[in-house]
């Protein structure tokens, strides 16, 4: 059985946003829509302060709230664990956007070209894959995965901080990393059973 999952090593992540950019290029999202983001927040007080990076994206939950609330069946969970949106069925009610515990969904409400008043050739090629007025999100680069590749963000990560694989295989790299480095998920109390795990960062000695 395959359950696709991702591991993000916060010890190595340094917030360069290559993953965000890779996702934009691979998926041709319009300006203002980011399927992957890197949250940056501080903890502590000067000078004992830390800057934290948290790449977030669709968690492809095993118990997805979005699927439960979707009225049209546009959102569905595949057998391999990837949660996808069928933009032919989506009516754009955005109920799923509220339901998602991780706020990882985006609404394609208008075409915002990158350069005002001008649509680049890249956008002309890419925007056709989207449907105006629907909700969209990370799909673990489904087409790439089906072709035996890894998602774009994993392939491009400058810090070599992202991994992808089968969570149901205890010997896969992702499973071993989660076990050895005590990987955790976000908001476990919500019982969504996400497929994206994080490896804890360490302070490097600084408090």
């Amino acid at each position: 059985m395959v359950r696709y999952g991702m591991v993000i090593d916060l010890k190595r992540c340094l917030g360069c946003d290559t993953c965000t950019m890779a996702c934009k290029a691979a998926n041709a999202t319009t300006r203002g829509i980011l399927w992957n983001r890197v949250l940056k927040y501080e903890t502590g007080k000067y000078p004992h302060v830390r800057l934290n990076y948290l790449p977030v994206l669709c968690m492809h939950c095993k118990e997805p709230e979005c699927e439960k609330v979707c009225p049209t069946g546009a959102t569905s969970k595949r057998e391999d664990g990837i949660v996808v949106v069928d933009n032919e069925k989506c009516v754009g009610c955005r109920y799923c956007m509220l339901a998602c515990v991780y706020a990882s969904r985006t609404f394609y409400e208008e075409v915002r070209t990158f350069y005002p008043g001008h649509m680049t050739r890249f956008e002309q090629t890419g925007y056709d894959r989207h449907r105006l007025g629907t909700v969209e999100k990370c799909d673990f680069c489904l087409e790439r995965v089906q072709a035996g590749q890894e998602p774009s963000c994993v392939v491009s990560c400058t810090g070599h901080a992202r991994y992808f694989g089968n969570l149901d295989d205890p010997n896969s790299e992702v499973s071993r990393l989660i076990k050895e480095r005590k990987g955790f998920v976000l908001n476990p109390e919500m019982n969504t059973d996400p497929s994206v795990y994080y490896l804890p960062s360490e302070s490097g000695g600084r408090d």
């Binding site: 979707c70 049209t72 009516v91």
Partner: protein, 327 residues
Amino acid sequence: MERAPKTQEVMGWKVAASLFLIATGAGSYLIGFLFGLIDSAESMTLSKLAVILGVPFVLVGGCLLLCDMGQKSKFYHMISRPGSSWMSRGAFFVTLFLVFNLIHLFTGIWPTTTLLTYPALYFMVGIIASILAVLTLGYTGFLLGAVKAIPFWSSSFLPWLFLFSGLSTGAMATSLLFSVYRFAGGEASVQSLAGLAHFNFFVIILEAIVLFSYLGVMKSRGAGSVKTLTRGKLAKAFWGGVVFAALIVPFVIEALKSFIPLSTAPLLVLALLGGIVGLLGGYMLRHVVVYGGTRIPLNVQGQRVAPPPEKYETKVIDSDYQSFQKA
């Protein structure tokens, strides 16, 4: 996280307004049917007016909801998942309610009243429509409640709140229409108006109890939202729009209408006034609940982190600079 968490920005006034309109329509119908069961001539007019009101309110509310959607033409897909989705269920309830409301209207009021000649059938249509009305009134509470990420909406009080509010605004809309009808020269006894006010008087009390119980419970679970409503950016809307316009003013007006013997003109004026203010208040209730919803933060091993923004925004300023140097 230094500042107060942001309230949700996905659902806006269109959703709040449509929730209000649909609830008012359903509440109105329910009142219409109940008053129709009182076999008296005075209540007949009121009943008919109330039933009639059901349709435009629900229609406009439904249209607003459609307007809010990105792919309106696909709206028929919305009934596909009643097994898991409250929005799907709601679509069913509202659609079916509208159908039965229209059946009641077209066969019982205009252009024909044939339905009335079959009391059993009339009763059945009415019951079904009423059940659907109740479901329509209450489901929005469950719709919001299904959003686990917004604890402010997760309360068993919410469906009751919307139920009572819908009944109340339905009553006030009916009163409003009734007084307009009378001012326009229509013939009808104002006694039913007093009776309706009496009914609404108790509904408002229940609504107030539910509202403050709801907020009381939410003080711990949805503290941020309660603060936003009572002291934050929604304070004016809450105290002015909900407490004052949806509760206090209608309460006073309904008390006056039901307990003080008034002549026709002041009664109608109160009904008009109360109706306008009450309807506004009814909208404001949905407004503060919808706009006041705050997401739970992301939980990163116990650390609370603000989730990504829901809407595209940019805060960058235009550059401006000046050199003081000369060669």
